[in-house]
Amino acid sequence: MSRLRLALLGLLSALALAACGAQPLASWPGLAVDQELAYVAYNNQVVAVNLADGKKRWSFPPEGGRGGDVFLADPAVGADVVVVGSEGPLSSYSGAVFGLNRADGAERWCLALDSRARDRLTTATADCPLAPGATQAGLFGIMPPEDNRVIAGIALADGVAYVAAANQRVYALDALTGEVLWTQLVSRHPIWATPVVAGDRLYIASLDHVLYARDRATGNPLWEKDLGGMLAGSPALVDDVLYIGTYNKEVVALDVSGREPVEKWRATAENAVWGGPQVKDGVVYFSDLSGGLYAVDAATGAQKWRVTPGGMLRASPAIAGDLLFIGDKDGRLHARRLTDGSEAWTREVAGGGQLYASPLVLPEAGLVLVAPYQGSNWLVIYNTAGNEPRAFAPSQ
């Protein structure tokens, strides 16, 4: 009997060890690009990589840096500054925002979204003030169970960074100084989608099924519209029409030119639409989690074609010339013709991993960039013909 119980104890211990083992990262890499550098936010680092040779230019935080924060949100790149959001150390739900020098990655400013982040990131030589309205530790230093991660990518326009956090708030920050221009509680559930800036408006898609339009200067509400399903991805805005995918297996087109949004059409997909749609020449391109890639008429929502390139498609498509690029769960990058969705080429991404992060394209340079999740490379750069891959791995 005692042997059996010992065996049972062993099994319980194994269960505990398995449960305490390495946790997967909460999300896929964040990716941004300018004409010279690609910026990858992944794991404990933000890395700037030369597009020309795939070599590291700088990384943040510097070796031995403070905090141990995990960076997964898409960075925003300005003329002199790169704004990145963190979700705190793994499973801490304690986020912060950083402004970095674009040239060398040195920290210009830091903003803590809760008091734990402030305590973690404020040292004798560096300051990280608390954002207005931030969660503070209560009795005995215990933090309320609030989710202060920055999962959504950061939008940057006219020197203002718009940060949408999982704590349902949006922060407008001076990108050069980190000064908080305004902050507003926007939604009833976390925000995971990058806000979209257009004219004097800010559009925020939330997991609470609602699309919010806010005044860009003040954050005050303009209108909100429940679209019937989770909004995990960002909208695309073209000619005052906003296209957004929902978890309710639809893409919705809204005319946002007036004071209130007017629904134009809904196109149905076979599964949830997470990635943001792309629009070119009157055609909307989007993907669904079943692996379907769609082209629909931007005016009517009528389907032009649907193809299934491979595995699950979480990412948004990217367009360069007459080709559409999208990565799938199985780690394949697909190039498809815009005319009929037929295959131009397909590549297994070097170093493996899943392509949940949306690819980015530089049409002038003829480059396609992908950032694999759980692969050995953090960034792989192809030319638009799918050749000459250059990979960046953190070990380099």
Partner: protein
């Protein structure tokens, strides 16, 4: 295979219950736990019956006599014990195997709850792969409302109330349900098990989503109630840090009373 047989049915059942139970995740976890325990009741019942039979055998005169007779020969003692098990029709593994079979259910529950709460983008993607295509309305239910009292059910309880409740109910369950062992070594082992499982499940509750703590607490309470229906519960053991005192069966209690009257 694991996902097909365990996780997918669990996740979809939870989402279906959630839609029936007013979109209340706490109520969903409680009802789901009760249903799971009802489904596994035959296993639990068999385990408790085997444990009781084993306990009675080990408290019998033949067992004690045999232990005294072969006190110096452990090998012979083991052989005679096996013979006695066979004669009495008791399987010494009978009380453990059903318990082992329940582990996949516990692991499945853990994965189903964390998956349904979907606190991270990767978890939400995973959840999407678990939902049956014919359960079309499931995606409308997302994200689940994970707030309950002061807690976010997808995160650990910051005030440690749930870990304390989990540890307390695990301790009570272990102590009241531990059969008294005649063998001091086995009794010591039972004591160690009670303490280990209390600390371990308390630690799980401290580390993991508080939604899982609700499962642990409800599950422990059901175990105690189930056991109380079929066995005499030895409440004195709860506060005992030593080896469990023998539970007094109604028959034995009757005999004691009769002796006292004489």
């Amino acid at each position: 295979m694991w996902e097909l047989l365990v996780i997918n049915p669990m996740v979809n059942s939870m989402l279906f219950l959630y839609s029936l139970l007013f979109n209340n995740l706490t109520l969903t976890i409680v009802v789901f736990t009760i249903l799971i325990r009802a489904l596994t009741f035959p296993l639990t019942w068999q385990q408790q019956r085997s444990a009781k039979a084993l306990q009675e055998l080990q408290q019998g005169p033949e067992w004690k006599k045999m232990q005294e007779k072969y006190a110096g020969d452990r090998e012979k003692l083991a052989q005679e014990q096996m013979k006695l098990y066979q004669q009495a029709g008791v399987n010494p593994f009978g009380s453990c195997l059903p318990l082992l079979i329940q582990f996949p259910i516990i692991i499945g529950m853990y994965q189903a709850i964390t998956s349904a709460v979907a606190a991270t983008p990767v978890q939400l993607l995973t959840l999407s792969t678990h939902i049956y295509p014919f359960f079309a309305s499931a995606t409308n239910l997302l994200p689940l409302d994970n707030r309950f009292l002061w807690m976010n059910l997808g995160l650990p309880d910051p005030y440690f109330v749930m870990p304390i409740l989990v540890a307390a109910t695990t301790w009570v369950q272990s102590k009241v349900m531990t059969p008294a062992a005649a063998d001091p070594q086995a009794a010591q082992m039972s004591q160690t098990m009670a303490l280990t499982s209390t600390l371990m499940f308390g630690y799980f509750a401290f580390t993991f989503a508080s939604g899982l703590s609700i499962y642990f607490i409800v599950s422990n309470l059901i175990s105690i109630v189930q056991y109380a229906f079929t066995n005499p519960i030895n409440w004195r053991n709860i506060f005992s840090l030593g080896a469990p005192a023998p539970a007094v069966s109604p028959a034995a209690a009757g005999r004691d009373k009769a002796r006292k009257k004489k």
